[in-house]
Every structure is written in C-alpha cells, then in structure tokens.
Symmetry: C2
Subunit: 151 residues, 2 copies
DNA sequence: CTAATTCCTCAAGCAAGCTTGAGGTCAAAC
DNA sequence: GTTTGACCTCAAGCTTGCTTGAGGAATTAG
C-alpha cells in the first residue's frame, strides 16, 4: 500500500522530475515565487504532456543559492547573471558553485566592511554632536552632496 | 548691498527658518523627499503666510540621521518611531541622539554578525557540495522551512 | 511691474520582489 | 467516474522609498 503508487514528494525515488509543488515544499519558497523566478530567468523547467512544470533536482540547489545570495544583499538581476554563467546543459559542479561563492564573497566582504566602518563612526559621531559639522565622516560618506557652506 | 535682503541660502544668518529648498540643498536630499518624509512623520515644518514650508535647523541633523539609519538598514517606519522618541518641543541634545545611536548600533552589530556568519559559511559550504544536504547551515538559517525529508 | 524661480497639492508612476485572484485544466484518490 | 487537490495563465495588487508631472500660487530679482 505504501510503495505501490508513489505520492507526491516521494516521487524522486523513482524518477527525478519534480513538480512545482515538490520544489516549493523542498526549497521552502512559494509556488508563485518559482513561477516568478522562471519569468526572471532564474530557474528553468520543462513541461510534461499536460503543460505542467517539471524540474530536475538541480533546481533545489539553485533556489538555495538564490536565497543565500539575497541574504548577502545581491539583487535578483545580478543573481540571474551569475547563474547564467553556469553551464547550461550539464549539472553544475562544485567548482562552478565555488566561482559563484567567490564572486559574492567579495561583495559580502565589502558590505561587511562598509557596515563596520559605519558602526565605528556611529559610535564616535552621532552622539557627540559633530553630525552638524560639515567635516563629520558620517554626513557625507562619498562626498556625494553639494558643499555645506557655512553649516 | 549684500546684507540688505538676504538671498536664499544665506537667510539663516539673520533668521533661522529654512525653506524646503534650503534644506534640500544643505542636506542633499530632493525637495520631493522632504515632502515625502513629512507625510511619513519623519520631519516637521510649519507654514509661512504664503503656505510655504519652513524648517528649523534641527531638521538638517534629522535628515542626516535618517540617511545614516538607512545605511545601517533600518526601514523608515522604524526610523520614524525612533525619532518620535526624541523630545518634541526642544532641540534634541547630544544625549538624545546618543540613545538613537545605541539603538541602531545594536541592530548594526547584529546585521554585521549575520553577514559575517554567512560569509564564513559561504566559504565552507557553497563550493563543497553540502548545500544539497539538509544539515547544511546555509540552507536553513533559522529552521524556518519545513522538514527536508529525504533530500 | 514683470519675469523667473520657488513652492504648493494632489495623482500617478517606478523598481524590486513577490502575492493574490479569477477562470480554467489536469491528475490522482476513492 | 467523480471529486478533490494541484497546476496553468494572465492581470492586478502590495510594500518600500521615492520621483515625476500637471496645474496653480507665492516670492524674489531686476
């Protein structure tokens, strides 16, 4: 009874095609998100006879990577580009993923450095009153604003 | 000739009311942004006889603080709440600002810690292949997703 | 006084990242 | 074989943080 006709979610033991619901359950994102990612070119699928999406198991890692990248602050368009650099026809290898990792690792390092600098400046500046002076490093991180004249 | 009728931008020498344009120029944000912040309760102004906005110089520090808080990742609603905790009727003191600083400093510390953890895990995990395993720390940072069954 | 700025108030739009809903099909459980 | 649940395709909506534009009033330079 339990092994005759495999239920959804256990199907991968027999065949490795996953339905969108399978992927949603296993990756923790909503079905609508998977549809959305597909329109954005972040994940791929093919269709079965009844026009339903089918995925390889690779998509699970893909989604995991997308979510990790998002946590590092990478926007979807950039994630798409990075994923596009992966081999199209074969399952990505560990080395492929490592390249992505290194790419984002650098961005992450920078972001952490920025925030750390901000934190240190926050301690020194915001409470002391210098925020109102034009020479405060917090005021104008990249000299982006116009001159502060007599302020 | 130069001191008779003060030009915009030099007006603060005589009177300390700033027009929205003055504030925009000095704080580096667009006029529309100041309008927007006002609708969100982030900054305050009064109106002159001709219904034009007038600001005290305090608003400059306010805007500076808003921008800093945004850089730390604090959303406007939270910034609004924090600013609302400042004394309404008097110019905030250094101690007032320091309280804000400490509040966000904590959030910033946490965010930095998160990203640092993520970075370390990224090095260890993404390239090695463990991403597909349910025990990978990157997969499910807070045990938020459902069980990964046999994956 | 006139012309050039600046300012005003809505209303709508934009970008990112999704979600929700309507209306309809497909598949699988009994 | 019928009924439930999973899927499908648009289209529209939502949140955050603003910008842009239209139409009109106030201010300021000369």
């Amino acid at each position: 009874m339990t092994t005759k006709t495999p239920r959804r979610g256990a199907i991968s033991a027999t065949k490795q095609a996953l339905s969108v619901g399978d992927v949603a359950r296993r990756s923790g994102v909503a079905v609508s998100t998977l549809h959305f990612y597909e329109t954005k070119g972040l994940v791929q699928s093919w269709r079965n006879a009844g026009n339903q999406r089918r995925y390889t198991r690779d998509v699970l890692r893909c989604v995991a990577v997308i979510k990790i990248a998002q946590r590092t602050g990478v926007p979807l368009t950039e994630i798409r580009e990075a994923l596009a650099a992966l081999p199209d026809s074969r399952t990505p290898t560990a080395a492929d993923w490592r390249r992505l990792s290194e790419r984002w690792r650098t961005a992450l390092d920078e972001r952490i450095a920025q925030l750390t600098l901000l934190r240190d400046q926050l301690d020194g500046c915001i409470g002391c009153g210098c925020l109102s002076l034009s020479q405060c490093p917090l005021r104008n991180p990249g000299d982006v604003l116009g001159g502060n004249e007599e302020d």
